[in-house]
């Protein structure tokens, strides 16, 4: 350990006792769990899956990089895990990825994982300069926005990478983000509030170490082939983040007059972000999530940009903001009284992207009131839309459920039965790592059949296909786990990328990359088994900590009904009978018990997780065959 791929060290920081030490990564079988979500989940499991609330000091904040982090390519991704305050109806063990520059710096500083527990008695920030790790006073930083905090710390720590929270995280807003640079955030999950609950304002990392590669010639060959194929690394997904997705006048104006540069994460040749500057509002980057905001912009570039910059600065999840905007139509329809939301003005909102009534000034007033209200913890929506909707009664909640299908997260590409099933089984919006449906299998029967899966169900007028869909979902779940654990950027790792069968496909790219870097022979099968293992361990955590059972593996009942005016993205409502039959087959395909959805001993032992089976059995939660 510690020679190739993994640095071999896990940094542990206890904010209560101020104790800082390291433990060997080899204690957690990194070759089996890779890094990122896999390693975080393994560490959480070994901690005994603490049954505490998200804001309890014993909720560990786990930040993992992975074996390929720090290399040239779309690999600068860290995964944040812990108990997520955003999840609903109960807080779940979930995850959120972050790009920017932070992951590489953590790796160069010599760590595979940061494990942060406890709660500081006063505001602090964590500074990591290689092996010099300190907790420093953050009182002067408390209350600053995310941009100001980073600028201040980068001045003091010579261009280090900074992960920080804004006022939203400090005030325990359940949709608070942890931001690095601009537009690179651990957004979903509300982990910014976990930092806030620990009195931890920021994490500053600078690393000057180097990373050896086990098989440099193999890596060079892999890179050069992609370069020569002009796929180093140019993918269609680049445009998702570079320019506003709404099209029309706003996109044209932003692109022609406000775009300053193309931008992106450290070490990645994709460069999928656009960096915009509107005087009076601010400068910063946007990615796909921000690029969606055009539909709610008040009809102007200024409105578009203000929504993005203000939420980033205050440290609020931009994706949740989109959900809120959709849900606020409940006010227009008379389902919710805006006074109950603590908002004086709500501009008319048209989700079809048409100019909205009220104009730019109304949009500005509304955004200011809403976002500052959320960041200060005073507005009801700072608890997240899910909890706000619940407190406003059944009608508000039903409208909410059409937009937020499960776990308290806004709909994200539920466009076929496979992605609906994937959502039902996860512990948050899983789409950060499963665009495989919308990019590859849904639209292309050709790509799907190459991978042995049913597909093409989004092409030609959207069909609702239940037949063999369990295999597609299980495949994407395993792939999601691999992406989250190498970790590799979602944009670079869709099955439609590098699709040159049979010589090259995304599985071959990922397994070859891991083998070249680590020197461990990851065949495609071995890599897929790792994905299977990681997904199954996540399930074991949910079963152990949240007593997850089959009954919870569902979307909101609204998704089985016809509902006028909803934004449900499926061609047809789900069919309950076919859905339950699909779930039966899905559990069997995964090696879980169909009656309760718990993993079985046979499956766990097949994946080399006997101790997990033993612990589940001791707790009376092992799936019987």
């Amino acid at each position: 350990m510690g020679t190739y791929g993994w640095t071999g060290k896990i940094l542990r920081v206890d904010l209560t006792t101020k104790k800082i030490d390291t433990v060997p990564t080899s204690d957690y079988e990194p070759e089996k769990y890779l890094g990122g979500v896999g390693l975080n989940t393994k560490i959480f499991w070994e901690m005994g899956c603490p049954r505490v609330d998200a804001f309890d000091p014993d909720n560990p904040l786990l930040i993992s990089v992975g074996p390929v982090t720090g290399m040239a390519g779309p690999f600068n991704r860290a995964e944040v895990c812990g108990i997520a305050p955003q999840s609903y109806p109960q807080e779940t063990f979930a995850y959120s990825g972050v790009g920017g520059k932070i992951a590489s710096e953590i790796k160069y500083a010599g760590y595979d994982v940061l494990v942060i527990v406890g709660k500081s008695d006063k505001p602090v920030y964590l500074s990591i300069l290689n092996d010099v790790v300190k907790l420093e006073d953050a009182k002067p930083l408390w209350g600053l926005d995310t941009f100001e905090t980073q600028k201040s710390l980068m001045k003091k720590h010579s261009n280090a990478a900074v992960l920080t929270i804004g006022p939203a995280g400090e005030n325990l807003c359940r949709v608070a983000i942890i931001l690095n640079e601009t537009a690179s955030a651990a957004g979903q999950g509300g982990y910014g509030a976990v930092l806030g609950s620990k009195n931890l304002k920021a994490i500053v990392v600078k690393g000057t170490g180097t990373l050896k590669v086990a098989r440099p010639d193999a890596l060079t060959k892999l890179q050069q082939e992609r370069m020569d194929a002009k796929e180093w690394l140019v993918g269609g997904a680049q445009s998702w983040g570079r320019y506003p997705l709404c099209g029309g006048a706003i996109a044209a104006d932003m692109r022609a007059n406000r775009l300053k540069r193309i931008a992106g994460c450290h070490g990645c040749p994709y460069q999928c972000m656009g960096f915009y500057d509107i005087p009076g509002i601010g400068k910063g980057a946007q990615m796909c999530v921000e690029a969606w905001y055009g539909y709610h912009s008040g009809g102007s570039s200024e409105g578009y940009w203000e929504g993005n910059i203000l939420s980033q600065k205050l440290g609020i999840n931009n994706y949740e903001l989109l959900g809120i905007m959709n849900w606020l139509r409940a006010v227009q329809y008379g389902i919710v009284d805006k006074k109950k939301l603590g908002l004086t003005s709500i501009p008319m909102i048209d989700h079809a992207g048409k100019p909205q009534l009220g104009g730019q000034q109304a949009h500005h007033d509304f955004l200011t009131e809403l976002l500052h209200g959320m960041a200060s913890g005073k507005n009801i929506l700072s608890k997240g839309t899910a909890r706000a909707a619940e407190s406003l009664g059944p009608a508000a909640q039903k409208f909410f459920n059409g937009i937020f299908p499960a776990w308290g997260y806004m709909n994200h590409h539920i466009q076929n039965v496979g992605s609906a099933l994937h959502w039902a089984m996860d512990s948050r919006d899983p789409y950060s790592s499963c665009h495989d449906y919308v990019s590859s299998f849904g639209p292309s029967a050709k790509i799907a059949s190459y991978f042995g899966l049913p597909g093409g169900d989004m092409a030609g007028g959207k069909k609702m296909v239940y037949e063999r869909t369990e295999y597609q979902t299980a495949w994407v779940q395993n792939h999601q786990s691999i992406k989250n654990s190498m970790p590799i950027c979602e944009y670079a790792s869709m099955p439609s990328n590098f699709f040159h069968p049979p010589a090259m496909d995304i599985r071959i790219f990922e397994s070859s990359m891991l083998s070249a870097v680590t020197g461990v022979d990851y065949s495609v099968d071995r890599l897929w088994e790792a994905g299977d293992r990681i997904y199954t361990l996540r399930r074991a955590v949910a079963v152990m900590r949240e007593n997850r059972t089959r009954a919870q593996d569902d979307l909101s009942p609204v998704w089985f009904e016809r509902l006028a005016g909803g934004t449900k993205s499926l061609a047809e409502p789900l069919d309950r009978t076919k859905w339950e039959a699909l779930k039966d087959r899905f559990y069997v395909a995964r090696g879980w018990n169909p009656a309760n959805g718990r993993p079985t001993r046979g499956k766990l032992e097949q994946l080399g997780m006997k101790s997990v089976a033993d612990k589940l059995q001791n707790a009376g939660r092992l799936g019987s065959k």
Binding site: K101, K151, K155, T182, L211, T220, W232, A285
Partner: protein
Amino acid sequence: MAKKKSEVKKITRREFVTGAGAVLAFGAASSLAACTPTAIKTATQPTLESVPGSTRIVHDPNRCAGCGVCGLMCAFYHEKEYGHSLARNELVRDPFNAAYTFHVCQQCESANCYFACPKKDVALCVDKKTGVKYVNTAECVGCGRCSDACPFTPPRANVHPVKKVSFKCDLCRGRKDGPICVEYCTMHALRKVSGKERG
């Protein structure tokens, strides 16, 4: 040979990277200041009359997206390892202004590094065709005088922390496809320009 201490202490590359050597303000303006040469040549020092103005790499900050693949591929090509501290170039990233500053050897005609080398033409050599100054690692003793002599901050020649030999940009001398940073820059922000073009 022991490393000769300069009278005025220069900031080493490592200290520059970690910020331990001096207070280095963050931002584009200060980054530009940091790459201004303190002295291009001294009065007593000859210039390389026999060598044409050399080829070097130039950076277009308006095209650059700040990814730093240039540095990663550089370190990996030359050292088979990744990490900024082994790169022959350095990209300073200001994410709040999308301002990116690129530091790389300017292949000066005055070549302070070359004249400072106690084994010049053996350890620090000049390519007669291109004018590129390069290190023959088999002969380099790692005294660090080339680094001390470099007029730029941070210095564009540095001593490898483990191998104890000097390293600097040699435009990937001998690489079939030219400098790897130029080839792998997907934004086409880096360009190799000849001495003639440079003027």
